[in-house]
Amino acid sequence: MQEPPVAAPQTEPPKAILLVEDDKFLRELLTKRLRDEHYIVFPVIDGEEAFKILDKERIDLILLDIILPGINGFEILKRIKEDPTIALIPVMMLTNLGQKSDMERGEELGAQEYMVKAQYTPKEIVERIKRLFAYSARRRR
C-alpha cells in the first residue's frame, strides 16, 4: 500500500469489473478490451443477472447501461446504493442517453461517472477506468 499509485494495478490483486450491457457486440468488445488490460470481467445482460453476480462476487467497479431488458439502469443503480453491502462499489454509467436530465439523475443516484457510448472509444473508457482505480487507490492510502 505504500507504493506509488501507478504501480497499484501490478501489485494488487486484479480488479473485478461487472459489465451490464445488453448489446452483444459492445459487451463482447469491451469485455475483451478490459480482459486485455488484465481486469476480471463479469459480462451480464440485465439487472437480474447483475444482482446474482453482486451476491457471489467481490466487485470493484460496475459499468452500467441504462436501457436494458427488464429493470432499467437507474433502477439497478438505486437498488445498489440502497444495499449497504454493495453501496460503496463505484458505478460508471455507460449509456446512449445523453441528455442533461439523464446525467443529473445518474449523478443524483450516486453514479461515479457518466459516459455517452457513442462519444467515447473503448480505449478512452479503459483510460477512465484506470484513472478511477488510481484515484480510489490514492484515496485509500
Partner: protein
C-alpha cells in the same frame, strides 16, 4: 335574415302604392277645393287636418319602412329616413297652422310634399304630376278643368319660391342618392366583413364591456360546441350555471385571460378533446374608450400533435441511431488501436476513414437531438458565470487537429482581463465550435482563421474571421435556417448537416445576444456574436 328582407321589400312596395293612391286622392281633393270651395265656409275646416294626417302617415312610413331603397338595411340609412321625417313634419305643421281659408299656405305645403315625393321617387312623381296636369288642363268636366287651371296658376305664382325649393329638391335628391349609395356601400362592406369573420378558420368571440356575448363566428361555435344564437346578449360570468351544453368551454376560454394580448393554451374535452390557443384583445374605439373584448380561439390540436410526432420521431430515431453508431465507433477504434493485431499500411487509412465517418455521424445525430430538444423548448439551459477566454482556448484545442490536417492556422486574440459572461458554457461552446469549425472547413489549405473577443458595452463580442470561400450574397439570408447549406460548399464538403448555424442562432438569441455576418464569395467570412457580461 334573407326571408326578412324579402318580406320587407314586399311591405315597402305595398306602402308605396298606398301612398301614391292617397296622394292622388288628396291632390284631387285639393284641386276640387281650389276651384269650388268658398274659403270662408268653415265646414271645410277639416281638410288641412286630413292633409296633416297624411303627412303623419308619411312620418310613420319613413319610420317603419325607411326609404324605398330596400337594398339597404333600415338601421344604416336612418339618416335618409331622418331627412324624410323632417320634411314630412314641416309639411305637417304647415297644414296644421294653415287656416282653412289659407289655401295659399296649403298649396305651398302640398308643393313641398310633391318635392318630397319627387325626392323619394322621381320617376313615379313625374308620372303622377303629369297626370294631374293633364287632368287639370283637359279635365273631364269643366269644373275640374277650371280647378286644374287654378292649380297651375297657383303653382306658377309659386315659381320664385319654387326656384329655391327646386334647389332644395336637387340638394335633397343628391343627398338621398349619395346617402343611399353610401348606405349600400356600407352595407356591402359590412356584409363582406361579416362574411370574412364568419368564415374565418379561427374562432372569434366578441363581448361587450359587461361580458355580454355580442358575436361568435362559426369556427368558434364548432370548436366550442356552442350555438351563438343561444348565448347572444347573455352575460357570461364565472360561477354561474347556465342550462346550456358545453357552456363550460366558453368559461374556460374566458378564464384564461390574465393580461391583454396574452396567448394561452387551454384544453377542452367536450365535444371533442382539443387543444386551443386563445388570444385576448380588448376592443377600443377611436378615442380609446373600451367597448368590449375579443377572444380569438385557434384549434391547435393537430398542429401540436404533428409537432410532437416530428419531435418524437427525431428523438427516437436519433437514440436508435446512437446504439449501432457506438458499435461502429468501437469496432473501428479497436481496429485502429491495434487491439486485434497491427494493421497493414493499406488497412490503416481505411479504418481511419471509417472512424472519422462514424464520428461525423455521431455529431450529426447529436445535432438532430439538439434541434429537436431546442424546438420542444427543453434544451435545458443552465446559465452561469463563464470565462470566455477559457472557452475559446478549449474550442481551439478541440479543432486544432482538424486545422493542422488542412494546414490552416488558428490565431486568437483575447484581452487578458475580460469579465465573465452570463452563459450556458456547454451550449455556447457549441456556438464557438461551430463557427470555428465552419471557418476551418471552408478555408483553403494554408488559410488563416482569427478568433477574437472584445467588450462592447454590456456585451462581449466574439468575432471569427477567415479568408475562405465565403457565402454567396443571395444565400446569406437563408444561412440560419434549418438544413440550409450554401451552394458553393455542398460540393466542396459533403458532411455538413446544415444544422450548426441554426442551433447557433437559437443559442445566441436565448442568451440575449445577436449574430452578425459579413461575407464575400472568394474573399472570406466574418461572423460575430454577442453575449451579455455577467452582472
Amino acid at each position: 335574415m334573407d326571408e326578412f328582407s324579402q318580406q320587407r321589400k314586399r311591405i315597402v312596395r305595398y306602402l308605396i302604392v298606398v301612398r301614391w293612391i292617397t296622394a292622388a286622392a288628396l291632390f284631387g281633393l285639393y284641386a276640387h277645393m281650389v276651384g269650388t270651395i268658398d274659403p270662408s265656409d268653415a265646414s271645410w275646416g277639416w281638410v288641412p287636418y286630413l292633409l296633416a294626417g297624411y303627412a303623419t302617415l308619411n312620418v310613420f312610413f319613413q319610420l317603419t319602412a325607411g326609404t324605398s331603397n330596400t337594398k339597404a338595411p333600415a338601421g344604416t340609412i336612418s339618416a335618409i329616413a331622418g331627412f324624410g321625417i323632417i320634411t314630412d313634419l314641416a309639411v305637417f305643421f304647415a297644414f296644421l297652422y294653415a287656416a282653412p281659408s289659407d289655401f295659399q299656405t296649403i298649396g305651398f305645403a302640398l308643393y313641398m310634399l310633391v318635392i318630397m315625393e319627387l325626392g323619394a321617387l322621381l320617376s313615379e312623381s313625374v308620372v303622377v304630376l303629369v297626370f294631374f296636369v293633364i287632368l287639370a288642363l283637359y279635365g273631364f268636366n269643366a269644373q275640374l278643368a277650371a280647378a286644374g287651371e287654378v292649380l297651375i296658376e297657383r303653382l306658377w305664382s309659386l315659381v320664385p319660391q319654387g326656384f329655391f325649393l327646386g334647389l332644395a329638391l336637387v340638394f335633397t335628391m343628391a343627398l338621398r342618392r349619395n346617402l343611399a349609395r353610401h348606405a349600400a356601400e356600407l352595407y356591402q362592406t359590412r356584409q363582406l366583413a361579416e362574411a370574412v369573420v364568419e368564415n374565418l378558420g379561427d374562432g372569434i368571440i366578441i363581448f361587450d364591456t359587461e361580458r355580454r356575448l355580442l358575436f361568435m363566428n362559426r369556427a368558434a361555435e364548432t370548436v366550442l360546441g356552442l350555438k351563438g344564437a343561444d348565448l347572444l346578449g347573455l352575460k357570461i360570468r364565472k360561477n354561474i350555471s347556465y342550462p346550456i351544453r358545453n357552456i363550460g368551454n366558453l368559461l374556460t376560454v374566458i378564464g384564461t385571460v390574465k393580461q391583454d394580448g396574452d396567448r394561452v393554451e387551454v384544453r377542452i374535452d367536450k365535444p371533442e378533446e382539443r387543444l386551443l390557443a386563445v388570444v385576448h384583445m380588448p376592443l377600443r374605439d377611436a378615442d380609446r374608450t373600451p367597448y368590449g373584448e375579443m377572444f380569438v380561439v385557434r384549434d391547435i390540436t393537430r398542429e401540436t400533435f404533428l409537432n410532437k410526432l416530428k419531435s418524437d420521431f427525431i428523438s427516437v430515431a436519433a437514440h436508435q441511431l446512437r446504439t449501432p453508431l457506438s458499435s461502429l465507433k468501437w469496432a473501428f477504434s479497436v481496429l485502429a488501436d491495434g487491439g486485434l493485431g497491427p494493421l497493414t499500411d493499406d488497412q490503416k487509412p481505411v479504418v481511419d476513414q471509417g472512424m472519422e465517418t462514424t464520428d461525423r455521424l455521431v455529431r450529426l445525430v447529436n445535432s438532430l437531438l439538439n434541434v429537436s430538444r431546442m424546438e420542444e423548448g427543453r434544451f435545458g439551459y443552465e446559465f452561469g458565470s463563464v470565462d470566455m477566454a477559457l472557452l475559446i482556448a478549449k474550442t481551439i484545442e478541440t479543432l486544432k487537429p482538424k486545422a493542422e490536417s488542412r494546414n490552416i492556422r488558428i490565431e486568437s486574440s483575447v484581452p487578458d482581463m475580460l469579465p465573465p459572461i452570463a452563459a450556458d458554457a456547454e451550449k455556447l461552446e457549441l456556438v464557438v465550435e461551430n463557427f470555428l469549425d465552419n471557418a476551418v472547413s471552408y478555408s483553403q489549405p494554408g488559410g488563416e482563421v482569427h478568433i477574437e473577443a472584445a467588450s462592447e458595452g454590456a456585451f462581449l463580442r466574439c468575432t471569427i474571421r477567415d479568408n475562405g470561400v465565403g457565402i454567396p450574397q443571395a444565400q446569406q439570408q437563408l444561412l440560419f435556417t434549418k438544413f440550409f447549406r450554401g451552394d458553393n460548399v455542398v460540393r466542396m464538403q459533403t458532411d455538413g448537416s446544415g444544422l450548426g448555424l441554426y442551433i447557433a442562432k437559437n443559442v445566441v438569441e436565448r442568451h440575449g445576444g445577436t449574430i452578425n455576418l459579413t461575407s464575400q464569395e472568394g474573399v472570406g467570412t466574418t461572423i460575430s456574436f454577442t453575449v451579455p457580461f455577467a452582472k
